[in-house]
């Protein structure tokens, strides 16, 4: 399998001598090529899970394994994307896409070739010499995806990559991400606040509790068109799945 969390807990030192438990004994597995979403209340440790997968910090206890190897630090198996596109404003788009390849000793000509290929996949041909400020928010996120794909990671981690976009751009971008990721056969972990987004894009959804985050439900999304959220959207079952998530998150009780 591609990714496994084994009884992972993470606490942070707080001001003074306190400790804040962000993630509590979380275990789950993600199979190769699978698209799994993680939903949960704000502050429940979703981004923390992502950072531990990326190797940016270590679990306090438990183990994170990528391709059966424990993650001990930042590594080339994982590519991540945030709500912010994190493009380097002083580099043009093609140089931004090459950024991830530079520390790997890929020769310059190869780098350019791979970057151009991903630029093409992400429908940005013709924009290679533009600077980030000259692109729309949606195009910038596509450039960030191209950069992520160009390092050919085994797993793609997405932390609310669409949440800063307007509704229409979001739909189109979800669609193009879904297709690109499916075509590339990448294992993906998507963190999102948007319940319908989780239903539209995933094979499986993990629901986390309030902090400290624990997996409280796991929902298998048995719907076709994973590579085309726009088509999945019109299926009547989508509403039922969303309602299920709604219930697990106890949103009604909270609103009352």
């Amino acid at each position: 399998m591609a990714l496994e969390f084994r009884n992972v807990s993470k606490s942070f030192a707080t001001q003074g001598d306190g400790e804040l438990l962000a993630v509590d004994d979380v275990s789950f597995r993600v199979e190769e090529g699978e698209f799994v979403s993680v939903v949960g209340p704000s502050g429940c440790g979703k981004s923390t899970i992502l950072s531990m997968t990326a190797g940016l910090y270590q679990p306090t206890s438990g183990e994170v394994l990528v391709s059966n190897v424990p993650v001990t630090g930042p590594n080339s198996h994982v590519g991540f994307m945030l709500q912010k596109d994190l493009l380097l404003p002083w580099r043009n788009i093609i140089a931004n896409i090459e950024f991830g390849l530079e520390a790997r000793g890929v020769p310059k000509a190869d780098r350019r070739a791979r970057a151009m290929k991903e630029l093409d996949h992400c429908q940005l041909s013709g924009f290679e010499n533009h600077f980030p400020y000259q692109l729309s928010g949606g195009m910038r996120q596509r450039a960030a995806l191209a950069r992520t794909l160009s390092i050919d990671p085994e797993i793609i981690l997405l932390d609310e990559p669409f949440s800063a976009l307007d509704a229409q751009t979001k739909l189109l971008l979800q669609n193009s991400f879904a297709k690109t990721i499916k075509d590339a056969g990448k294992t993906t972990l998507l963190i999102t606040h948007d319940l319908s987004e989780a239903v539209l894009m995933s094979d499986r959804i993990l629901v986390l509790s309030e902090r400290p985050g624990q997996v409280i439900a796991e929902i298998k999304v048995d719907l076709p068109h994973r590579d085309q959220p726009i088509r999945r959207r019109v299926l009547p079952e989508v509403g039922e799945y969303a309602a299920q998530l709604f219930k697990h998150l106890k949103l009604e009780e909270k609103a009352a």
């Binding site: 950072s51 990326a54 190797g55 940016l56 590594n75 991540f80 002083w90 400020y133």
Partner: protein, 255 residues
């Protein structure tokens, strides 16, 4: 476009008004010329200074030390800023001293430097370096503290080394602040050189100010001040041009 034109026109109009007032008002108000010389007095004196006082040499000397002091001071300031920015430990240890030195009036060191190094170019160069050093250091350090953490994490995830992160992420992120620091420093450089020349030595526009003052030659003082301003202004404009080129990737606010 029309607006841009309007700005230039108004600006030139103000200049002309000031020059006319300068020429006419002192005579009209009966201010003696050794207190406020008129424009034509000053121009006449300028010609005399050029012919008899070796004005060109003084100008070149002052310009040279301004640029030299600016380059050395900002280089040291930037290097120090980046080093401290990369080490939380040393930043914390040294920050009270930096603050103290920043508050201390740097120009007051001039007499001390003269006692140490004598009446040569060293004191004015040192004052200039010292005065230029801090705004650059402080701006760079501030920028290093506020580099986007997520950007650094991204670079880490891409396996960049510590040095790679510095050159490819931190350093470019700080360039806007560095340029702002350099602009402030350029205006201070002129002050440093002037004070150095005022206090000791026999070359430079600062020297002409103290020399002219001693002879009650107000026109000479006026001219020297204006020439110093021009030197500072030119340095500033050059920096602004460089900044425009270097920071081309920042979106411009359209008016």
């Amino acid at each position: 476009m029309i607006r841009k034109h309007g700005i230039k026109l108004t600006s030139v109009a103000i200049l002309i008004a000031v020059l006319v007032a300068w020429e006419v008002l002192p005579t009209a108000l009966d201010v003696p010329r050794f207190i406020i010389p008129t424009l034509s007095d000053s121009l006449a004196e300028l010609q005399r200074m050029w012919a008899n006082e070796g004005l060109l040499g003084h100008i070149l000397s002052t310009a040279l030390y301004t640029v030299l002091g600016f380059l050395i001071g900002s280089l040291l300031g930037a290097v120090m800023g980046y080093l401290l920015g990369m080490s939380k430990f040393w930043e914390k240890v040294l920050s009270p001293y930096i603050l103290a030195l920043q508050i201390a009036p740097k120009v007051a060191f001039a007499p001390l430097f003269i006692m140490w190094f004598g009446y040569n170019s060293m004191p004015k160069l040192l004052v200039t370096v010292l005065i230029v050093f801090f705004p650059v250091l402080v701006n760079v350090l501030q920028a290093m503290r506020t580099v986007d953490r997520d950007l650094v994490n991204l670079a880490r995830a891409y396996n960049l080394t510590r040095l790679g992160i510095f050159w490819k992420v931190e350093m470019p992120s700080t360039v806007p602040n560095l340029m702002a620091g350099l602009r402030i420093a350029s205006t201070l450089a002129v002050i440093g050189v002037t004070v150095g020349e005022l206090v000791g030595g026999n070359t430079g526009l600062g020297y002409l100010i103290s020399y002219g003052g001693g002879q009650a030659n107000a026109a000479m003082v006026f001219n020297a001040i204006i020439l110093l301003t021009v030197i500072g202004f030119l340095l500033y404009v050059v920096l602004e041009r460089i900044e425009e080129r270097v920071l081309h990737y920042l979106p411009k606010a359209h008016q």
